[in-house]
């Protein structure tokens, strides 16, 4: 196993722990927006698809990657849009900010 892959495994493990600790603190109130936000963030896979779509290695990879960019971009736009729409609706009964 190369050094790069080992580093990647450490990164994965640490990110998993951070994710666990951060997300554990998300209020159950916001579990739906949490899911749509992580979905939008997960669409970061678009960065891999973009490079592949533009690198022009073969027709097959260009086609596959272009479709992949479409799928991921619709998640980016749709995911952030709906998360923001949802969060805008959450209002407190207490007037203004405490």
């Amino acid at each position: 196993m190369s050094l790069d892959l080992t580093t990647s495994l450490y990164v994965f493990m640490l990110a998993g722990f951070i994710g666990f600790e951060v997300i554990r603190r998300v209020s159950p109130l916001l579990h739906t927006p949490l899911m749509s936000l992580t979905n939008a963030l997960d669409a970061i896979a678009i960065v891999g698809a973009i490079v592949l779509a533009g690198a022009h290695r073969s027709t097959l990879t260009t086609v596959l990657a272009t479709v992949a960019v479409v799928a991921a971009m619709s998640n980016v736009v749709g995911g952030f849009l709906i998360t923001d729409r949802m969060l805008k609706m959450f209002k407190s009964s207490k007037p203004k900010k405490p």
Partner: protein, 465 residues
């Protein structure tokens, strides 16, 4: 082909900042007061990451990228503007899109690199496409069931788990073979095709009430497949975003499975949704007390504390706006109204909160199970709208009940219980609810939206205080 050092530095810094912003985005989601800041952080991070990527010197042609970005945005906008009641199916659909993207990139990478793929690389690539393709069809199936274009009823047959596990085992077997012999390109389509079938089979036995768990699980799979893609492309940004999404889905799955008293292994293997035995036929005819909207309005107006328990029935009847009117009418009369929300109420985690927030119910009145249960003994009226199993006291007391052990909302500890229900038919799981025969329970027979509307009208007349 290689990127000049300065551009490379800019790209890496943009990725680094994006990673930090993604973690902050989730951190800010911990409270409704900071949550919108979280979305902005996520958006900025995404903008930086995409911007940085476009500088990559491997890119020789921008035409397809631009077309794809525009097309994706055009598809994304309507998906971001769906009605709040359609959020569960939209979420399932976006899991499918995410997994689709990951699978396509994995496929492209395989054909680019084969036959020279190191074993570890091939292992993560296999994981990427297996998880990606089963999440793709699984999520499409889930979305179809939620949208009700597919039958919502669970479809089960003998040996289902055996068939499913065999499919998965074959796919993993192919993956192992390809790790050893990455030059056998002809096997690769099977490593995608079989999980595609498995994804469908996995969701076939799932009924509507299990959807919150399933959606969370698919969320986790989508995240893990993206993380695997990060390993393949050696992108730390992708690994971290995938790990965050994976752990988010994992935590939600655990919360949901606990709330349904299912073991986590049970969930992991997709072996849930087994047909519950129909309620024992031996029950004697028991009497229920019912009440009219006028009587219900009178009792509610005379109460000082009311807890409303909404369930999926409220969403189906689109009754959330009428419920808000009821909340307003009662609050105006000085009644303290709160909402008690079970983790698995609705079709996805947090579903009820979003619907009630949309109807302008203040979020500090929406209490989760741990917060609301101690309040029931001091509650005058518990009003149940479209919820059933999550209020069934048999889960606490009746060892023979299929839902025994499931944490429930202790509505039976309130002084009076009112249940809005269409008829005495048992709920989705076919389990009888002894709550309905309790002395202090009043059944309000009717459509949730119509009945709540009538109560509000009666309260408006003002003569019942």
């Amino acid at each position: 082909m290689s990127t000049p050092p300065l551009t490379e530095l800019i790209i890496q810094i943009s990725y680094l900042i994006a990673t930090a912003l993604f973690i902050l985005a989730l951190k800010w989601l911990s409270s409704p007061t900071t949550a919108r800041r979280g979305v902005w952080a996520g958006e900025l991070g995404m903008f930086l990451a995409i911007g940085g990527t476009l500088l990559n010197h491997e890119i020789v042609e921008y035409k397809w990228i631009v077309i794809a970005l525009v097309l994706g945005s055009i598809i994304g906008v309507p998906l971001g503007l769906v009605h709040m009641t359609a959020v569960p199916q939209r979420t399932a659909l976006s899991h499918a899109f995410g997994a689709f993207c990951v699978t396509l990139v994995g496929t492209a990478e395989f054909y680019l690199r084969s036959p020279h793929i190191p074993a570890f690389m091939m292992a993560v690539l296999s994981m990427e496409v297996i998880l990606g393709s089963l999440t793709f069809t699984g999520s499409l199936m889930a979305a179809g069931k939620l949208q009700e274009v597919l039958p919502q009823r669970p479809i089960t047959y003998k040996g289902q788990n055996l068939v499913n596990l065999t499919l998965l085992a074959v796919a993993v077997g192919i993956a192992v073979y390809l790790v050893v012999h990455p030059d056998h390109k002809q096997l690769f389509p099977f490593m995608i095709g079989i999980p595609l079938v498995f994804g469908v089979m996995m969701i076939v036995p799932i009924g509507g009430a299990d959807m919150p768990t399933v959606i969370s699980l698919l969320n986790s799979y989508a995240g893990l497949s993206a993380a695997a893609m990060g390993f393949v492309l050696d992108s730390k940004l992708l690994i971290i975003a995938g790990a965050l999404d994976g752990s988010s889905g994992f935590i939600l799955s655990v919360i949901m499975s606990k709330a349904m008293n299912r073991s986590f292994t049970n969930v992991l293997f997709g072996a849930f949704g087994q047909v519950q035995p129909a309620a024992a036929g031996a029950q004697e005819a028991r009497t229920v007390r019912s009440a009219t909207a006028e009587e219900a309005a009178g009792i509610l107006a005379a109460a000082s504390t009311v807890v409303i328990v909404p369930g999926y029935g409220m969403a189906v009847a689109q009754a959330q706006h009428k419920v808000r009117e009821l909340y307003d009418a009662l609050t105006k009369r000085g009644v303290d109204v709160k909402f008690g929300i079970h983790p698995v109420a609705g079709r996805m985690p947090g579903h009820m909160n979003v619907l009630l927030a949309e109807a302008d119910v203040p979020y500090d009145k929406l209490l989760d199970m741990e917060a609301v249960n101690p309040e029931f003994p001091q509650t005058d009226v518990a009003l149940i709208i479209g919820a059933n199993d999550v209020t069934n006291p048999a889960a606490r007391t009746d060892r023979s009940s299929p839902i025994y052990g499931m944490p429930i909302l202790d509505v039976d500890k309130a002084k009076t219980v009112m249940v809005i229900k269409r008829s005495m038919n048992p709920g989705f799981a076919g389990i009888d609810n002894p709550l309905y025969y309790d002395q202090k329970t009043l059944m309000l027979f009717g459509d949730a939206k119509g009945f709540v509307g009538e109560i509000v009208r009666e309260l408006g007349h003002g003569g019942h205080a």
